[in-house]
């Protein structure tokens, strides 16, 4: 696989359920990311790069036959490729990439922990002012942003929204092209 670029190999590694070296180990960026980070998400080049990487990653994923699983896999792959494209400058991207690792190490243990305190936390949160409640909701939506300050949360949300928009654009384009290409295929076996 010498021809594959590092990103491909990285996605390949990611998809293999082995412990992998984190490619993005260089980011020591603080949480205060510049707002300029949101801009690159809108560029065409970024979208193309993302689409390409996504396609390659999808190619390598061992797609399970079951639909929901496959969808989840695709989604995870897409998110991971998106996080890679963020180049580790944002918190959510690092959190997404860390997700998989956590799964390997913690597996199910981590999921059980928050369940106990749910009731209490909901009671407590009801007393909070509306803004804080919504802040909490937003922090849950944006991966890896549970305990950061409000302005940083806004910053992360900005970047995350731009990234998501790009992801949606790219994936919809891919899906559209693929589905457009689809109809012909059934014909070929028939033509055979």
């Amino acid at each position: 696989m010498a021809s594959f670029d590092s990103s491909d190999s990285e996605t390949l590694r990611e998809q293999s359920n082995h412990k992998k070296r984190r490619k993005i180990g260089h980011h020591t960026a603080a949480d205060h990311n510049s707002a300029a980070a949101a801009v690159p998400w809108r560029s065409d080049a970024e979208q193309r790069i993302y689409s390409r990487r996504l396609v390659e990653a999808l190619r390598r994923t061992p797609l399970s036959p079951a639909r929901p699983r496959a969808a989840g896999q695709v989604r995870e792959t897409a998110d991971r490729v998106l996080a890679v494209a963020a180049r580790g400058r944002t918190r959510w991207s690092r959190a997404i990439l860390a997700r998989r690792r956590k799964l390997w190490t913690h597996h199910e243990k981590a999921k059980k922990a928050p369940r106990n305190g749910l009731k209490r936390t909901t009671e407590r949160t009801n007393r909070l002012p509306a803004v804080q409640k919504k802040t909490r909701v937003l922090s849950r939506l944006v991966p890896g942003c549970q305990k950061i300050s409000f302005p940083n949360l806004l910053e992360e949300a900005m970047d995350y929204i731009s990234a998501l928009e790009m992801q949606v654009r790219a994936m919809s384009a891919i899906a559209e092209l693929l589905s457009a290409a689809e109809p012909r295929r059934p014909e070929s076996p028939a033509a055979r």
């Binding site: 939506l141 900005m158 929204i161 055979r192």
Partner: protein, 573 residues
Amino acid sequence: MENQFFLNAGVSPTPHPLHFEPSPPPSSMPSWQSLSPTMGIQPTVLNCASGQTQDCFYNPSWDKSTDHAHHRQFDSSALSSLVSSLAAASSNPNNMSNENFIIRELVGKLGAIGSSDEIPHPLAVASSYMNNGNSSTNTSCYTTPLSSPPKVHCLVNEKLANSGGKSMALNSSVAEFSTDPGFAERAAKFSCFGSRSFSDRSVQLRVNNAELAQRSAPVMEHGKLPRVSSSPLLKTLGSQMGTPENKNSAYQEQEKMEVTNSQEESTISEQTPNGETGVKTSQDVNSRKRKASSKGKAKETSNSINPTKGVEVSDDSNSKRSKTNEGEGNENGTVKVEEESKALDGKQNKSNSKPPEPPKDYIHVRARRGQATDSHSLAERVRREKISERMKLLQDLVPGCNKVTGKALMLDEIINYVQSLQRQVEFLSMKLASVNTRMDLSIESLTSKDVFQSNNSLATHPNPIFPLDSSAPAFYGHQPQQNPVIHNNIPNRTVSHCSVDPLDTSLCQNLGMQLSPLNGFNEGSSQFPLAFSEDDLNTIVQMGFGQTVNRKTPIQSPSFNGSNNVPQMKVEL
């Protein structure tokens, strides 16, 4: 010769300090030499400086040996050369020790300039500075010019006071002072003016300091000036200056520092009328604004704090309005806060009158008119500004947020939008998954030649096919891995698709592109079925987005169908 020096000095202000260097050297070099016999320290300093800066800068001049009888003119040029050397040295922020040398050199030179007939004095001054600690000598040097009424001494006094006051003021300010390209011009102007005007006000140190401060103010406007902490020297100098003078000058300097005179010439002109009324100028200063974005670097404790903060302003290197620091709140933030603020004279004077207050805060924010000025509210305001700024950006991102005002509603919108985006991604991933599975199933059909209904001929040539696909990734600059078969198919399949043209264009582009070796093909061949689809996807993706990129080469889609294409493509490869 003298005219040249003046001209050089006059030219200096406009260019960047770094650019300033090349202009004076040719004529100022001889001045170095002329002074060197008088001031024995020079060669050492010059050596230091040259070691830092480009050696060629100074070395060739040393070869010339020109003796100049007139020290005065050369002094001005020496000043300019000094400044240039200092600028050159300061451009190298790492060599602080050298800058110390240079600063001392400059100070010494200043002394020398004023008293051409009293060379030993400046020499003594300079040497004392060099030794960095002969307080008696220094004070004596200072006192002698001060006490002497003659204009020569006044000039000396001015220069010395300026340099001393400046050194008193700030560590970094001295560096800035040195890098001030306009300084040489001012120096020239001073000498031009003849010390007549100086004698009027020269006796008072305050005035000198005010002028110095004013001069230093524009210096701070300069673009990132290195923070040279020549603190030890400066502190000693400052102490040597005498405490009473220090206080007064510090106050005035603080006030002057806040003057945002980006034009050095304007400061010079201002100095003459405003020199006498230090207080008046302070009020003028108050009306001006300065943006202060100190990151807590120059935390010079000693005498002057506000000037220190003013120096930190230099980071912005703007001639914009800047804000003086409140000097009170401890706001630790990295974001510069620009606020439209009207100067509150009372507040400013209050802050100016507290020089010993240590600068703990990093953001210098000026309270708005009629607003609370305590540290907490300031910090609150900064925080609120940050948040509102980000909310505004988010408003632009999230569609339909323009009408919404208020944090809660905005957050609602943002949450809804993020959720909708995530749902979309989920849906698309489902779609892709289904398409992928279908692709897998039908991929085998792709391998057969029959699949390429219109490109049978191409299908028979597996090898040429590869290059085609390899070009696709080359489009992105990645290694190609896909099969050209897809390319062939694409025109057929996508004929009905609206993206045919982009497809064709990009295909041609791909052909023209560099093709990677067939390494990928080997790999791709093993994954042939999948590879097809992915290659297809890739090319399709390219096509889809390829509107922006290469549309140069015209494409003949029928050409793809023919086998003759293959060799053509190969050739292009």
